[in-house]
């Protein structure tokens, strides 16, 4: 091969990347560069490096918004993981094929569902004159005005579970299918109780998937806005609600402050999604 030929080859090898150019340009224009603009502006003031914007973001109002968002996300992720796994276990162990497929399909259908119609449905069911509220009242359990309000963090917790549960079910089913029947039989034959089997064999095997599921569900709830906005308006102080208010200029026109809040929430989200990816790789390796 002459030098010219080799050069031609190399330049050709480089040219095939041109086919991916439109996609990379799109990613740069609408993902990378806008987000990097946020990073830069949150750390600078008139060109000089500063942490000033983050200091201003640490007011009691915004700290509370982070506390509320983290509590809501952690609670719905935890409940989603526990009950989602329970339902998924019931799905994979049922012998009725129709039930198994129908409920998996239901999870598939509902996991992409959220936002305004979901929030509204929960007002119809659990609002101050909702049907479940009325039924509970009849049996002597008064939700309103003190026990429960749907237009609050409590209501959001219940509404978020409507998309968290199906997501967890879909995430954990493949791992549950990876639990071999022989493992259980071997454990029982060696004298383990059912509880010991779950604690010593099944749980360690499922751990990466459960933790990964928790992180993804956490991110799912942390970034949510439409459901919270429809259900509670500005009443519940969440990070996304605060950022949206700053974007709309409702509170005050202070873009750098919004950028700093956005950076903090991106930090939380990045940890969750990166952790999920890492654990997902481990879970896949474990299942092999």
């Amino acid at each position: 091969m002459t030098r010219g030929e080799r050069n031609a080859r190399q330049s050709k090898a480089w040219l095939v990347w041109l086919g991916l150019l439109p996609f990379f340009l799109f990613g740069l224009a609408f993902e990378i560069i806008p987000v990097l603009t946020l990073v830069r502006s949150s750390f600078t003031d008139k060109g000089a490096l500063t942490l000033n914007h983050f200091e201003r973001a640490l007011t009691p109002l915004f700290i509370e918004s982070f506390r509320n968002s983290i509590q809501l996300s952690a609670a719905t992720a935890f409940l989603g993981v526990v009950f989602g796994t329970l339902v998924a276990h019931a799905i994979v162990t049922t012998r009725n094929r129709f039930v198994r497929e129908a409920i998996t399909a239901l999870a598939d259908v509902t996991t992409n569902f959220g936002g305004a119609p979901l929030a509204f449905a929960f007002i119809v069911v659990l609002g101050s004159t909702g049907v479940v509220t009325l039924i509970l009242k009849m049996v002597g359990l008064n939700l309103y005005p003190t026990t429960f309000r749907v237009y609050s963090i409590q209501g959001l917790t219940v509404a978020y579970l409507y998309f968290q549960l199906p997501l967890m079910i879909l995430l954990i089913i493949p791992s549950l299918l990876g639990l071999r029947r022989e493992w259980r039989e071997a454990a029982i034959n060696l004298g383990a109780s059912s509880f010991q089997y779950w604690l010593r064999v099944a749980l360690p095997f499922l751990a990466p998937s459960l933790l990964g599921g928790f992180l993804l569900l956490f991110a799912n709830a942390f970034g949510a806005y439409a459901t919270a906005w429809t259900l509670t308006g500005p009443d519940v102080n969440l990070v996304t609600v605060q950022i949206a208010a700053l974007v709309r200029g409702e509170v005050q026109l202070d873009p750098a402050l919004a950028d700093a809040l956005a950076m903090l929430s991106l930090l939380v989200m990045t940890i969750c999604v990166a952790g999920y990816q890492w654990l997902g790789g481990r879970a896949r390796k474990g299942a092999r």
Binding site: E31, I32, N112, F113, P117, A121, F163, G223, L266
Partner: protein, 276 residues
């Protein structure tokens, strides 16, 4: 032995209770909304005080109903076709000739999961308000933003479909018979990965059709979509809002059922994180 049998029977009952509770939780909000939308009044008694179609007639006869529904359809369809056009050739080319480019593509398709809708809207506004392009405050920026959040939903099914067929052999066969790149992609590869492309398109459609956050922050009242219209109604007339909510439920559920039907059994990995 008898102990064993009774234990498994107990587990059967336990399983039935768990599944029944889950079904109730998932179905009741939908059924209650449907019933609410056709009730004369349902806020004082356990059962509705009579049935009526009045709220449906009222809400669907408004001109805004048609406008917002059309706007949502336009944004969803434009986003869907634009993404299909961007992602399918890119994924094919990367699978065929630039496997080393795949990690970069996958990175760009994971990013949307890590950016909350409000943050994406903020980032786009902050950057594009200084760029002299017809983007800011127009439906164009909305389509671009919707393309970002729906990117993973398009890429995954297409990439999975490409993994499942031998695109190298197909491409070589097509080209040895004299087909050009465009012909190969359009006439040979596309028919083979069609279920993936259609599945991705439907997922994109249902995600964008239900999109509220980006629309609200990027275009607001300038370009009202169906979810925006619904949220406005929840604030002042619950019964008409319930009819709109039922429509949203039905659109989302029908598209999902269509996706499941096309994907056939065997299931796809969870692709969630849609319009929250």
């Amino acid at each position: 032995m008898t102990q064993f049998a009774s234990a498994s029977k107990d587990r059967g009952i336990w399983r039935g209770i768990v599944l029944a509770l889950f079904l109730t939780f998932m179905i009741v909000p939908f059924l209650a909304t449907v019933l609410f939308s056709i009730s004369v009044r349902w806020d004082r008694t356990i059962f509705p005080e009579g049935l009526t179609l009045e709220w449906w007639e009222r809400v669907t006869s408004r001109s805004a109903f048609e406008t917002t529904l059309t706007n949502s359809l336009i944004v969803s369809l434009v986003t869907m076709f634009a993404l299909a056009l961007l992602v399918t050739p890119t994924a094919y080319w990367a699978h065929l000739r630039v496997p080393r480019g795949k990690p970069f593509i996958e990175f760009l398709t994971i990013i949307p999961f890590g950016i909350p809708g409000v943050v994406l809207a903020l980032a786009l506004i902050r950057f594009y308000s200084d760029v002299p392009l017809p983007l800011i405050n127009t439906p164009n920026i909305l389509v671009a933003a919707c393309m970002v959040i729906a990117l993973p939903f398009m890429y995954r099914p297409v990439a999975n479909a490409l993994d499942a067929v031998d695109i190298h052999t197909l491409t070589e066969a097509a080209q040895s018979l004299g087909a050009g790149w465009r012909q190969t992609l359009w006439r040979v590869i596309l028919p083979n990965i069609m279920p993936g492309v259609i599945g991705g398109c439907l997922l994109v459609f249902s995600t964008v059709f239900a999109e509220f956050t980006l629309t609200n922050l990027l275009v607001g009242a300038r370009f009202k979509t169906f979810p925006i219209y619904l949220v406005e109604f929840t604030r002042f007339d619950g019964r008409q809002a319930s009819a709109l909510a039922v429509i949203s439920f039905v659109v989302a559920w029908l598209t999902s059922l269509l996706i499941i039907w096309i994907a056939g059994r065997g299931g796809r990995p969870a692709e969630a994180l849609g319009a929250r």
